[in-house]
Subunit: 792 residues, 2 copies
């Protein structure tokens, strides 16, 4: 047989494989029964509600089949990221053809009954979603909310030098902001130590009811655009299957060859950033589906976006058209009588873990190794007495992260939008650099292709890269300005949903938690002003499932160290840690910090002066700045009203406030009462919006006596103390709030209140005159040397 | 004088103007006093806290001065959008030089004392922020959170055919996702009816502590990238002022000429999308500032990002360096003895409203005309009795919007990510098309360069364009899938902050509200699945200031019509409307709808069967699907327990739940008690996360008896009714919840509870067998023909 004949035979088989995937895709969208079309198609075989999206599917099947060819031939380690929304039928069909689907879900076997179940379960109650979801073997990316495919792909490729991540990007998704920025990720991929990303921009030309921007661009414009982004674009275009197969196969050979060249370093040395190849594939939307429906153009148009044929019960001609469409794939050639893919086609799929549906990188927990976390106690601040020393919390954390990077040189990354040093984590630069693949100039500082710190002015990229990195079994932390983490609210939603679903899938192994350090927080954005002040991210995440979300507000450096150590060891969670970077009083030594954090919430005995019974008032606090103000308020009250019995309660683990039945970290009710009493006023100084505390505690005993202060959307460019005053969270307002709730106190209290009000007026005049805080406020330290235990 | 001499003289003057702006910028960052450097600089003249950002400032001043030149020469109508963060000193300096600053803020006069105040107020308590903020004349864009400058610029240009929007984009901002997508906005700009956007990509090479991606790209790569995006890039590069002035002036002449050509239509006709010019400007970061500080490279490096010289009290050499730096601008040549800009330089600024700081487009309320809103009653559904007819709420709204577009053909736009038809607003296409400037094919439907509907698969662009459009005095609405509006959470924050600040600025005229229709909401995402289910946007917006935010949950078509009419007439607000697009029972005729919406909350008499006193139980509901389920629950309870007295309360205006002192729409407490009683159980069926209702009502009488059902993050691809069952918001669970809180009911209640539980089991089996909801649930209609008034 000549080469030409062999090629024709191979492409014929490839085409048959593609037809099999297309057949299974249409079957999933339409059929309840009669999976092999052994009987004439009847309305009883059709699903009552037609839910699914045909438009993108044949193109995905086409790409998948071609990737299989090169994987099997070259024994490639490759995963598949399905960017287009609603691409579920394609990925499910292909993983079913590979056999892995039936291995994971034995009830969906490789036979007639299995195929019937495969079809029935799709977008059906009790079944599976229409996207490449957590339930889908081989997927690390849900094509529900669009925009993150390419960032996930790069995240998966980092530190996986043998891996190729094939990433299909739909022309709809390509219009989103996060995807548009993601093209620049090539500037952060090191060919020596990272894997390859193969972007396949699939232009089928249409979204739901519109053309796409990129689909209508000329090849010339696309070429310039992607060359500008630093890629080497290869075009494949067609609608006639066989020539298009030929073009795709030839192009994929070139592209895989290029990747091999880049990896082998046959490029000129000193060329830091290679020009990675990409494919721009133009095929018709709804390719091989109905050309026209009811006289209207359907194949190659947005009308094939969802179900091209509908209302089948009332339109027998549509039913006939569906049958003809399905039979056009010649299922009798593809599946044997038992419903099993014929051996000749089975042989085309890669084997074992090389199957993209079985690749362990796409079930990252299988590859995950525990992070080696050095002893955080080594970086503890010496705190001989509460409030006696100053320290920068994130600076201590930076030392711990430095050693984490040293001990885990290929499996931990720190992400942030150009703020690692600004957030005082710069100790990490003693161990590593920032990743940088563009030119490096002599004056540059801490830039290197091998860096473990990833800085880009895009929270979307930081988040997307980290998600991809975690989902493939590695570890990391995202450090961000608190206000701007809202930029990724929606990405967090999707990741939380992913985690929730995977928890119910035994075959999905746990992955490392998504860890945030939010710093440069609302109370210390006095210098950047109102636009930088928003503590609402925690309000957003508490809506997620309780078993996913943890929120920590460590009040000082040693508690931050303990919390950091803790979150780095967890899995399948979203951990949000909020801590300041500015010099601030330190309260607890490392042993006290550990005990306090383990409890999550506790009474600070040294700041309290109660006797055996309940105090007159409880001052509670969560967050570093509120803690300082609450402690100072206690001090003021004790100074002015020595007979008043005060208890100070500090909260590190915010979820401890919720009832136990709402959150696993919730404090048992009797412990809550022991801390907050049954009937005494509680003045609560909170880091975020005050309503969040009410939301968490409304079912608690004594909630009616909770008076919460926090951010109330007041702020500007001013001094740090003025920020808390503007929001009435400062020590004077807190002390006044306590007095106002203790009507029994009488004349002494009135005098104290007047004194505090005078101090507020002094503050107001002082900062507006001098542009800084009054020295005794700025440098305030806890004067009391409590004889009680530091906390209990 | 020869041309050459004239040019030299003109550029010399331009350079002097630039020096004046630079001088005023450094002064703002550093000086408390001695504004004209009439005395040797002493530490007492320096601010105690140095807050500000020098790095971007000289480049902004350079651009501003050159734009002034062409505005004055050609009488151009131009506004300035300052993308780079912390560009405040530049815009403030320039508007001060123009005189407009002192016209708006007379206390900051054009003399020595005014200059002293100008300097002192910057980033000072009681002063102004470091960004081009609402306080800054001529600004419609705050450079706090980066990413939105170019989308704002395009929004401003739409339907402003005489306007040129000069938009400076920093190379930091250019890394963000929203900005990266914004380049494609040129595909939506119609040269015949819209203004021009002149993007000026300012590459100073560095962010906070890193080089920038685009700054390190070669000119060749940048050329390809932006040609690929469809622009005609013009490069200007330099660090030696005079040649750089020459290059910038020459380039600006070319670019303005190109814009004129495009506007005059001298381009080949049929070329739909012109190749608009842009400028890529490379100048050093911190240009003209200290070259080195403490021996480290500063000018042209990230060290000049903020304050290049600091710690002046301890470092006299820094103080000397600052003085030399400021004197290098030769202030004595720029300002007269009284501190006033010399007349020769004053003459360079444009006059009157042509000054970019005074252009009315940048204070859009000055140009805003009331929207002409047609009578919404014309589209009312006929509802002869509650629950008797079905209707699609958004379809009725679409008819109203169609006529809004007809009556306001140049001042109203509808934005959405390719979902206008999917969200059943397609009546608008009877009046207009989708904007489309790329090629239009014969098969395309409703695409035209003149369209009023803007569809792009980027919520960021929809939001950014609409903000720009509103801020320049026009009107619009953004229709979005509920789950994906979280993509713009952070943009909403920034707009809310902008509105809050402008409310305190008398000179800023009110602008039209930012209106959202959130549809395809959580309860009808049964077909798209879990990734499309999130009702948390309203949790996000309630954190904003109460006088800014309104949330409406109209239960049917006529209430949605009333609410739409209402929000379109409001200003300076963010209105969030959530309504379904699916066929659903209609409850109120248009008169009842108006009365109900005006009250915001009310008892529905026809669904209640109470006597004169308080009912046994209150069923409350907010949102269309929860309303249906609550009404059905009432029906079930009345059927099974005829003696039970039930009241149904429906909430349209969510803020009515909050106490009056927390929100202006809050219901007075006595009215709240009248509706919800003092002590009866309240079963509340809520559209969103249940905790939001608790958060809004925790201070209310009877809150302890509120039992709220809503979305609890359970969902998948299933049937509509199964969605509510999974979250226990359905009629059966609501009825059971009521029974559980009425222990006095006895055996009848136990029987009813068992009946409801059986029905739930039947549902479970039915949907998993048939893939659709039980007919009597799917087609349920209110059986009661209440004799009471429809509502009261």
């Amino acid at each position: 047989m000549t080469d030409h004949h062999a090629e024709t035979r191979d492409l014929g088989r490839l085409d048959a494989y593609w037809r099999a995937a297309n057949y299974l895709s249409v079957g999933q969208i339409y059929l309840l029964d009669n999976p092999l079309l052994e009987q004439p198609l009847e309305i009883g075989h059709i699903k009552p509600r037609l839910l699914g999206h045909w438009g993108t599917t044949p193109g995905l099947n086409f790409i998948y089949a071609h990737l299989n060819r090169v994987i099997a031939r070259d024994d490639l380690d490759m995963i598949f990221i399905c960017g287009p929304g609603h691409g579920g039928p394609a990925v499910v069909a292909n993983t079913y053809l590979e056999g892995i689907y039936s291995e994971i879900y034995p009830e969906v076997g490789r036979d007639r009954e299995g195929m019937r179940r495969l079809f029935r379960q799709f977008s059906f109650p009790g079944g599976i979603p229409s996207h490449a979801a957590p339930e889908t073997p081989g997927s690390i990316h849900e094509g529900g909310e669009l925009g993150y495919a390419l960032a996930h792909a790069y995240g998966a490729a980092f530190d996986n030098p043998d891996l190729i991540v094939a990433c299909v990007i739909g022309d709809g998704e390509a219009e989103t902001g996060p995807l548009a920025a993601s093209w620049h990720s090539n500037k952060f991929l090191n060919p020596k130590t990272d894997g390859a990303v193969l972007p396949i921009l699939h232009l089928n030309g249409y979204k739901i009811a519109n053309p796409t921007i990129l689909g209508r661009m000329t090849d010339e414009a696309l070429l310039r655009l992607f060359e500008g982004f630093g890629y080497e674009p290869h075009f494949v275009e067609g609608s006639d299957p066989i020539p298009t197969h030929q073009a795709m196969a030839a192009t994929l050979d070139i592209v895989i060859g290029r990747i091999r060249e880049i990896r082998q370093g046959t490029l000129a040395d000193g060329m830091a950033q290679p020009r990675w190849p990409m494919i721009i594939l133009r095929t018709p939307k709804g390719w091989t589906g109905p050309k026209e429906v009811d006289g209207l153009k359907t194949e190659g148009f947005w009308r094939s976006h969802q179900v091209p044929l509908s209302g089948l019960a009332d339109k027998p001609e549509h039913l006939a058209q569906l049958e003809a469409w399905m039979r056009s794939y010649r299922p009798e050639e593809l599946f044997d009588e038992a419903g099993r893919l014929v051996p000749e086609l089975q042989a085309l799929a890669p084997q074992g873990d090389r199957r993209m549906g079985a690749n362990p990188h796409a079930n990252g927990g299988r590859l995950r190794r525990e992070l080696s976390v050095p002893d955080h106690r080594a970086f503890a601040l010496d705190v001989p007495e509460p409030g006696g020393v100053q320290g920068e919390a994130t600076r201590a954390m930076g030392q711990l992260l430095r050693d984490v990077i040293r001990e885990n040189p290929r499996s931990f990354r720190l992400m942030g939008p150009d703020e690692t040093a600004s957030n005082r984590l710069d100790a990490v630069f003693e161990a590593t650099d920032r990743v940088w693949m563009e030119d490096i100039l002599p004056e540059d500082v801490h830039l290197a292709p091998e860096g473990r710190v990833m800085e880009v002015l895009s929270e979307h990229l930081c988040q997307g890269w980290l998600e991809g990195y975690l989902l493939t079994g590695r570890h990391g932390l995202f450090s961000c300005y608190e206000a701007f983490i809202h930029i990724v609210d929606s990405m967090v939603n999707q990741h939380a949903k992913w985690l929730k679903v995977t928890r119910d899938l035994e075959w999905r192994q746990p992955i490392s938690s998504l860890n945030y350090l939010l710093t440069s927080h609302v109370w210390r954005q006095d210098h950047n002003g109102f636009s930088h002040q928003d503590p609402g991210f925690i309000d957003h995440v508490v809506n997620k499932k309780a078993d996913i979300v943890r929120i920590y507000l460590p009040p000082d450096a040693n508690t931050l160290l303990w919390v950091t150590d803790h979150i780095l060891r967890t899995y399948d969670r979203i951990n949000v840690v909020i801590a300041g970077k500015q010099p601030a009083p330190q309260w607890l030594d490392i042993d006290q910090a550990a005990a306090h954090c383990r409890a999550g919430i506790g009474r600070w005995g040294w700041a309290s002066n109660e006797g055996d019974g309940d105090p007159d008032v409880v001052l509670a606090c969560a967050g570093d700045v509120p803690t300082l103000e609450a402690v100072a308020a206690v001090s003021l009250l004790r100074e002015q009203l020595p007979d008043l019995c005060i208890r100070l309660v500090n909260v590190v683990d915010l979820m401890a406030l919720q009832p136990k039945e709402q959150h696993p970290h919730g404090l048992p009710e009797e412990d809550f009462i022991r801390l907050f009493t049954r009937d005494r006023p509680v003045i609560f100084a909170f880091h975020g919006y005050p309503q969040l505390v009410h939301r968490l505690t409304y079912k608690r005993t004594n909630h009616d006596n909770f008076h919460v202060r926090g951010y109330r959307e007041e702020g500007t460019t001013t001094t740090p103390f003025d920020m808390v005053v503007l929001n009435e969270l400062d020590r004077f307002h807190l002390a006044i709030a306590a007095i106002d709730r203790l009507p029994q106190l009488g004349a002494d209290a009135d005098r104290a209140r007047r004194r505090f009000q005078e101090r507020l007026a002094e503050h107001h005049d002082y900062v507006r005159q001098h542009g800084r805080d009054m020295p005794d406020v700025a440098d305030w330290r806890w004067p009391g040397r409590g004889t009680a235990a530091p906390f209990d």
